[in-house]
Symmetry: C2
Subunit: 273 residues, 2 copies
């Protein structure tokens, strides 16, 4: 018997924090099927009542609904708490021990997280995104020296998503540069990358997985051919090893795992929180 529950992520902001922590807790319960609903921007008594009505209306399918809340305002929270639900409160549970531990009262201010209040952080983020876009796939050598990291690897090894994630989540400037057959024949890194190698980081991938991905894009091509994938991956790994470039195998890793590993191994400080 597979259980079914409706889960609500309720927040006075975007609900992204509630979703992320809630989801990470729910992954621990394998037999249960969760229907997930996000109720963002619940920042007034009136919206709290609407929210309560939705939980009452939609929460009834299956067992008692679960509410993950990051609501900051006590009055708003009190309304939503009236729901007949398992109420998991990420804010209230920790703000008291934090106040006690810090010896400081909290401001109980709504919408601090994921708001655009810190203009400097916001600009660093946008600049990093623009940088990743301008330096995707070796598109430009201009200001390559400003990169915090330059990802290298064969086509479809995961460089673009990783660069974008580094920019979006951490405000880190990431360029990416493809390793192509010409580089393998010369067995040298592309000219633009031969300077400061300490900022290079390699992505590698299982040839079988690369073959699958490339086949989707260009079926029947030499590009997608398994033997060619084997050759390219081997040659790219040889090149990285010869030049002392650290690398990670992206085959069974998420973008988050790859990006976090790169920050740690290259000692790059995140620019935004």
């Amino acid at each position: 018997m597979s259980e079914r529950r409706t889960v609500f992520f309720v927040s006075d902001g975007t609900g992204i924090t509630a979703q992320m922590l809630g989801h990470s807790l729910l992954t621990q319960f394998e037999g249960v099927e969760f229907n997930q609903v996000t109720l963002p921007f619940v920042d007034s008594a009136e919206k709290a009542e609407e929210c309560l009505a939705r939980i009452k209306g939609e929460g009834g399918n299956g067992g008692k609904p679960i509410v993950f809340s990051t609501l900051v305002n006590n009055d708003v929270r009190a309304v939503v708490r009236r729901a007949d639900a398992l109420f998991i409160d990420f804010f209230e549970s920790f703000i008291d021990p934090l106040e006690a531990g810090l010896g400081v009262k909290s401001s109980h201010t709504i919408g601090r997280s994921h708001s655009a209040m810190d203009k400097k952080e916001y600009q660093q983020r946008i600049e990093a995104i623009n940088f990743a876009m301008a330096h995707d796939d070796g598109a430009s050598h201009r200001e390559l020296g400003m990169a915090d990291v330059i990802l290298i690897g064969v086509s479809r090894s995961g460089k673009t998503p990783t660069s974008l994630y580094l920019a979006m989540q951490f405000g880190v400037k990431a360029a990416n540069y493809p390793l192509i057959p010409e580089d393998f024949h010369r067995m040298k890194l592309p000219e633009a990358l031969r300077g400061d190698k300490t900022r290079l980081y390699g992505l590698t991938i299982a040839p079988e997985r690369l073959h699958e991905i490339r086949k989707e894009r260009r079926p029947g091509s030499r590009y997608a051919d398994l033997d060619n994938c084997r050759f390219e991956v081997q040659a790219a790994e040889d090149l990285m090893r010869r030049d002392g470039v650290r690398s990670i195998n992206s085959t069974s890793k998420s973008i988050e795992e790859i990006a976090t590993t790169i920050l740690r191994e290259l000692h790059i400080k995140r620019q935004i929180y």
Copy 2:
């Protein structure tokens, strides 16, 4: 007197969930300066000891350090808990009430969140990122019909970061299309967008802010001129209104807030969690 604390985000995975929730709690304490350290991939007793040593070594600056933990494994957590710190536990605090509420034992499996375990979700995410890249700034009309949303707005109104975020965080396929002076002279939407308007969504921005952003890129240009920014924003807003395209003012909003609002208003279901 501004207090100073060192904060550790400790996780057996990437630490991104611990950071996000921890950071949203810390924003509630304005007078305190936090030095933030992330210790990811703490997934063995040995790494737990290293982690403990780092907390002891680096935590001493200022008051007692704070540890935000999403550690799943009881043995690993027990080691880190020996630190002389305020220990805020996101996992242990909620897994018991969830087990009781669901009537199911949790699997206590490490690294479930942000791991690439769900291959279908992973592919949807990568496809959405590729789609956003291929359809950035009106680059391609091909498969525009597959977009979940097409963002429109003047140059530098925030379309690209929003499209990428929708893809990265929600697996939603977002194209974006610039509104340019030619469109304003004709007072018609670009031809490619005149079909299904229900998937269009507008970004608008305060002319003064747009002027600032454009000035950074092309100082002294007509493009950046404040009067021209005023004209473009007004014309774009008129166009959107005339064609019944919903819009949001991005001026003081974060990428997360804009993306969340779009999902909600267009009733788009997120594809990944």
